[in-house]
């Protein structure tokens, strides 16, 4: 299945944000939720099972100057094996955030079902003065099953400079991924990249987790745990609006 989705958020001239483009194809369907007139909230709605091997998904997000967009999803994304012999499922996300704009990406987790082979690539470009909160949670296998293969590749640039580059490979094709250096037997992992002019203070988070200042203008929160609940305990306070990310 090949799917292309595009979301463009722009300031509506009255202090709110409107969707200038809201185009989705199954399984990447986009629905506007939340009240009109304020910040824009969009939910990703999975329109089909998967991703499955052979799927090719791409989502483009553009947040214009002064616009404020939050993207959630209604359910976890479950990467499944699909037919053997097909290439890995691919999910590419490209986002740009303009000056004075905010993008909060807080979807439900990706679950790597046994036998899946899923590749994700995320590239986010934030202009100077833009604000980003980008969260990705991963669960390595459903209850009591071994993890499928997931290769995730993330690049976040701020003001034209690369702020954060990260690849993670889990599952049967990844050497020693569950040994003590990488996940240490943990089944769940979450990360939040924060970038912009107004940022919280770095600190250790509850459980196996830390909020770390990057070398550039941003922070990374990383949490690992035996299940997604442990990751949520560490990361939810950061992504659920306890911290204002807007410049004051």
């Amino acid at each position: 299945m090949r799917s292309r989705a595009r979301l463009v958020a722009e300031e509506d001239g009255r202090g709110g944000t409107r969707p200038a483009v809201l185009h989705g194809e199954s399984p990447l369907l986009l629905r506007r939720t939340g009240p009109r007139g304020g910040d824009l909230t969009v939910h990703l709605v999975g329109g089909a099972a998967g991703p499955l091997r052979g799927d090719d998904l791409r989502l483009d997000i553009e947040v214009g100057p002064g616009a404020h967009l939050t993207v959630h999803s209604v359910a976890a994304q479950l990467a499944l094996p699909g037919r053997p012999g097909l290439p890995p499922s691919r999910y590419e996300i490209h986002a740009t955030v303009a000056a004075g704009a905010t993008l909060r990406w807080t979807p439900e987790p990706l679950i790597a079902a046994a036998g899946c082979d899923h590749h994700t690539r995320t590239v986010v470009d934030v202009a100077e003065g833009g604000t980003l909160l980008w969260r990705d949670d991963l669960v390595c296998g459903r209850h009591h099953e071994p993890s499928g293969a997931v290769l995730s590749d993330t690049t976040v640039r701020y003001a034209g400079r690369t702020l954060y580059r990260h690849e993670l490979h889990v599952g049967p094709s990844a050497p020693a991924w569950s040994a003590a250096a990488i996940l240490g037997g943990a089944q769940a992992l979450g990360t939040i990249v924060l970038a912009g002019p107004a940022l919280p203070e770095p600190r250790l988070l509850p459980g196996e987790a830390a909020l770390m200042p990057l070398a550039g203008p941003g922070l990374l929160a990383t949490a690992v745990g035996p299940d997604i609940r442990a990751v949520r305990r560490a990361l939810d306070p950061l992504s659920e609006g306890q911290y204002s990310l807007r410049p004051v």
Partner: protein
């Protein structure tokens, strides 16, 4: 033509560049109870080799060919833990200091360790593959000798483990050199979440055997 003896000098653990003061994140994982046995050490070293080792090898190899400032910024973007950035720069500075006495080095003072390693390799007339092998080798030998001290393991068994890992070091180095001329963003970026979190916890300890 690159000199094998020169490569051995560069990769030697006795090079006075302060590497013995770092456990490569092992001390934090031992304290967390995740590494207790020789088998756990092997898992830790393999995980480290395929993440931090691949990144270090690729950046060391690329630095032999130049672009030092870009590569140094690229490692900043791949090292979210400030404790690991400090450890890498401290070892890079120490290596540059040692290197200046050994070869004629450009005037760099503050670089991440893998980039400094590439700068030394270039000054010594070595090839990118040599720098990559030295980097991959250093990523496993440093924590391996720390493992002997932290867990009281049999040094013969730990060296047998290093001998088993040597072919993997060669494979990592061979794949690392394919990125020598790639844009900095396209170089490997394999991360190890527990190394980052462990390094931040470790940095808060009042008493520790290793600097990182």
């Amino acid at each position: 033509m690159s000199s094998l003896a020169t490569l051995l000098v560069l990769a030697d653990g006795r090079l006075p560049s302060g590497g013995h003061a770092h456990s490569g994140g092992l001390e934090a994982q031992v304290a967390a109870g995740r590494v207790r046995s020789l088998g756990d050490v092997e898992g830790f070293l393999r995980g480290r080799l395929h993440t931090a080792g691949l990144v270090a090898a690729a950046f060391a190899a690329a630095a032999v060919a130049g672009r030092v400032a870009d590569l140094d910024a690229g490692l900043d973007a791949r090292t979210p833990s400030p404790a690991l950035r400090r450890a890498s720069r401290a070892q890079g500075r120490a290596l540059l200091r040692a290197g200046r006495a050994m070869w004629s080095l450009p005037a760099f003072r503050d670089l991440h360790h893998p980039v400094a390693l590439g700068v030394l390799a270039a000054a010594a007339g070595l090839r990118p593959l040599d720098a990559a092998v030295a980097a991959a080798h250093g990523v496993v030998t440093g924590p391996a000798s720390a493992a002997v001290r932290l867990l009281g393991l049999d040094p013969y068994q730990v060296h047998a483990l290093l001998a088993r890992l040597a072919p993997s070091c060669d494979e990592i180095a061979a794949s690392a050199v394919s990125f020598v001329h790639a844009p900095a963003d396209d170089l490997p970026a394999a991360g190890a979440p527990l190394l980052d979190i462990g390094a931040e916890l470790h940095a808060t300890w009042e008493v520790r055997l290793f600097a990182s």
